[in-house]
């Protein structure tokens, strides 16, 4: 028998989950974990009800509320917006009717769906994971195949635990070397998107590899995979290793005891084989990365913090010139202006990209012993109730509050203008979230994406700032 063809991490997980193949090559793919939230699920549950279908595997499903809720004390007294309230109440009703496990709003474990999946051990290596939300790619950091789906697919998974899927192509992004001071996972992924563009990963699943990725903790890997969707990819993933196994061990839904050892043995077979074929390869040197910030209204319009606003007139291509012009106007910029001269009104530290305990620590380290600049509203929104508790145990809430930051309840918050946390027209924000589209954080809002440490530095400086000039007080 000839040796088996070397396979990628994606190929292996895919092959493990094909239930059937249709004549045209479409696969019926088994889904191990389905995460459900209030915005994209109501019509899916209703479809089941109308057709008289049950949820096929409630034990593989978990529901949580995150998008629509306030992140201040009003969440305890009821949601003011009637449409948001109805979506939340509908989910609360549906989980009872269909017997789906649910983390209620006022539970300590409540949080952003992409934070609680890994945190609870619901997202494990080797799994197929879906959720009606594009940033499901986050869970790929576990060494899983995780992607977002639409409402009709949510219904399909609830009813059948499968999806009809065409295979994706393999892409590998290798980041070798060591990250310089002041750079984080967020700077890596922004640099990648800046290099390959928002369509660079289209049709592909990206595996992130290389020394600098291996050196990241799980939170950092999640940040990178989270934004694979902004690079156009269907999903992003990092091969499971000891860092992954150590993270998973002891989580509430993770396998225990002998089952854990068995699981690790299997998970250890998943990394891409040497010589496996990738349809596309991209290489970056970590040493070349500097703290990054987006200046435009697409995540690919990103630059080192030391750079200046580009001049649209310098673009050779006419369509691009018009696009740049529009961005510069919308963002209220002057070509040639230094990015560090851009004053910010709001700083938002949170979202499924950067709201884990490691992100809180990184921001607190910069904020400690300093104060938010006058006129800046700075908010810190932990990704889950458990992150919040952990941070409070470490005294990070005091650090933030003493420095003049708001310390809020878990949720999507100002990542998207869907709940009370919004920008007002013309406001400029430094945000650790993942999308800087026009109006994303509120109509007319201007968003600059950056890392938690960079966001903290911007809050202290009152303008976009180079975190390397704001190293922790007392450090050399």
């Amino acid at each position: 028998m000839s040796a088996e063809k070397p396979r990628t991490l994606f190929d292996k997980i895919w092959a493990h989950h094909v239930v059937d193949t249709l004549p045209d090559g479409t696969a019926l793919l088994y889904i191990d974990r389905h995460l459900v939230h209030e915005v994209t699920s109501p019509q899916a549950f209703e479809g089941l009800r109308v057709a008289g279908r049950p949820v096929h595997r409630p034990d593989a499903t978990m529901a949580v509320i995150d998008h629509n809720i306030a992140t201040d004390e009003t969440r305890r007294t009821g949601i003011l917006d009637p449409e948001s309230r109805l979506q939340v109440e509908t989910l609360e009703h549906n989980v009872v009717e269909f017997g789906v496990p649910f983390i209620p709003l006022l539970d300590a474990r409540q949080g952003i769906v992409h934070v609680i999946g890994p945190e609870q051990g619901l997202s494990l290596p080797g799994m197929t994971i879906v959720c009606g939300d594009s940033h499901t790619s986050t869970h790929g950091a576990m060494g899983a195949l995780a992607f977002g789906i639409g409402t009709s697919e949510v219904e399909h998974v609830l009813a059948t635990q499968t999806l009809l899927q065409k295979p994706a192509k393999n892409m590998r992004v290798t980041v070798d070397g060591q990250l310089p001071l002041g750079c984080t996972a967020k700077d890596i992924v922004l640099a990648i998107i800046g290099k390959i563009g928002t369509a660079g990963g289209t049709g592909h699943v990206i595996e992130f590899a290389g020394e600098a990725i291996r050196a990241l903790d799980m939170a950092g890997r999640m940040t990178v995979c989270n934004m694979s969707i902004e690079a156009g990819a269907r999903a992003g993933m990092v091969a499971p290793d000891q860092t992954t196994f150590d993270y998973v061990k002891g989580r509430p839904f993770a396998p225990k005891g002998e089952a854990f050892d068995r699981a690790v043995a299997w998970w250890s077979t998943l990394p891409s084989d040497p010589g496996a074929h990738f349809d596309k390869e991209v290489f970056l040197r970590a040493e070349d990365i500097v703290p990054m910030v987006t200046w435009g209204t697409s995540p690919e319009d990103v630059a080192p913090i030391t750079a200046s606003v580009p001049d649209p007139a310098a673009a050779v291509d006419e369509t691009r010139r018009a696009q740049l012009q529009r961005m510069v106007e919308y963002m209220g910029l002057t070509p040639g202006q230094k990015l560090t001269d851009l004053k910010v009104d709001v700083v938002f530290i949170g979202s499924c990209t950067n709201s884990r305990i490691e992100d809180m620590r990184a921001a607190a380290a910069i904020a400690k012993g300093r104060h938010v600049a006058e006129g800046v509203r700075a908010m810190v929104v932990p990704g889950s109730g458990l992150v919040k508790l952990q941070a409070e145990q470490e005294g990070l809430d005091r650090v933030f509050l003493d420095a003049g930051f708001e310390w809020r309840e878990a949720g999507c918050s100002m990542c998207l203008g869907m709940n009370p946390d919004k920008l007002t027209p013309g406001q400029r924000s430094a945000s650790t979230s993942n999308r800087n589209f026009e109006g994303r954080q509120g109509p007319g809002g201007r968003t600059h994406l950056l890392s938690p440490a960079m966001a903290a530095a911007a809050a202290l400086a009152g303008h976009l700032a180079d975190v390397r000039d704001w190293q922790p007080v007392g450090s050399a």
Binding site: V19, P42, A51, W266
Partner: protein
């Protein structure tokens, strides 16, 4: 999804081209958590005055047509935004078949997904059927999907074409989920294998 075999019912005449999805269900009714219940807003701008009272001239407000199950219209029915709310609204009102010279693609697709049969027939034939429909409850049309014919009140049979796979799905009431559930034995044996190999995936 309800199987579609043979339907005999009143056909409502809507002698207009380019009836878009915003006419079928205006955007203000989209912020919903349900796909049922939209029937009350079907054609809302054509059917109701601003104060909510009925416009007596609109065909679905006339006694003979209140329980219509078939619509006859002209070219490009269902154009405009891709909202799946359009077929949801038609179905919720009780419309199971729309006959027109042609349809917008997405609407055409979405109709099949929701158990509505869109039939393409040449304009001259649609005009004849429009005349039949004007006779209201006195002239019911029969749509026989099994034989792929529309039967006029005078007994004349008009054959129509339909993709065999879609016909099969409608006849058997198979939506996407229904089709996947035909693979149930494969799903079951997958689960049995996986449960043995990776028991931690099962609570």
């Amino acid at each position: 999804m309800k199987p579609f075999t043979t339907l005999t019912g009143v056909a409502a005449p809507l002698p207009a081209a380019n009836i878009d999805t915003d006419k079928i269900i205006p955007a203000r009714f989209l912020k919903t958590i349900a796909r049922t219940g939209l029937g009350q807003h079907l054609f809302a701008n054509m059917r109701f005055n601003e104060d909510g009272s009925e416009k007596p001239d609109f065909v679905l407000n006339q006694p003979a047509y209140r329980n219509s199950e078939i619509l006859i219209a002209y070219e490009n029915f269902g154009c405009g935004s891709s909202r799946e709310h359009a077929p949801w609204a038609l179905l919720d009102f009780g419309i199971r078949c729309v006959i027109a010279p042609d349809f917008a693609d997405i609407f055409h697709n979405n109709s099949f997904k929701n158990g509505i049969l869109p039939i393409r027939l040449p304009r001259e034939i649609c005009e004849k059927l429009m005349d039949d429909a004007r006779l209201g409850g006195n002239a019911r049309l029969t749509v026989d999907l099994e034989r792929s014919v529309v039967v006029r009140p005078n007994g004349e049979e008009i054959p129509f074409e339909i993709d065999p796979f879609r016909r099969h799905c409608l006849l058997n009431g198979l939506d996407d989920i229904g089709q996947t559930l035909q693979h149930k034995p494969a799903i079951d044996s997958f689960e049995a294998r996986q449960r043995a190999a990776q028991p931690w995936l099962y609570a």
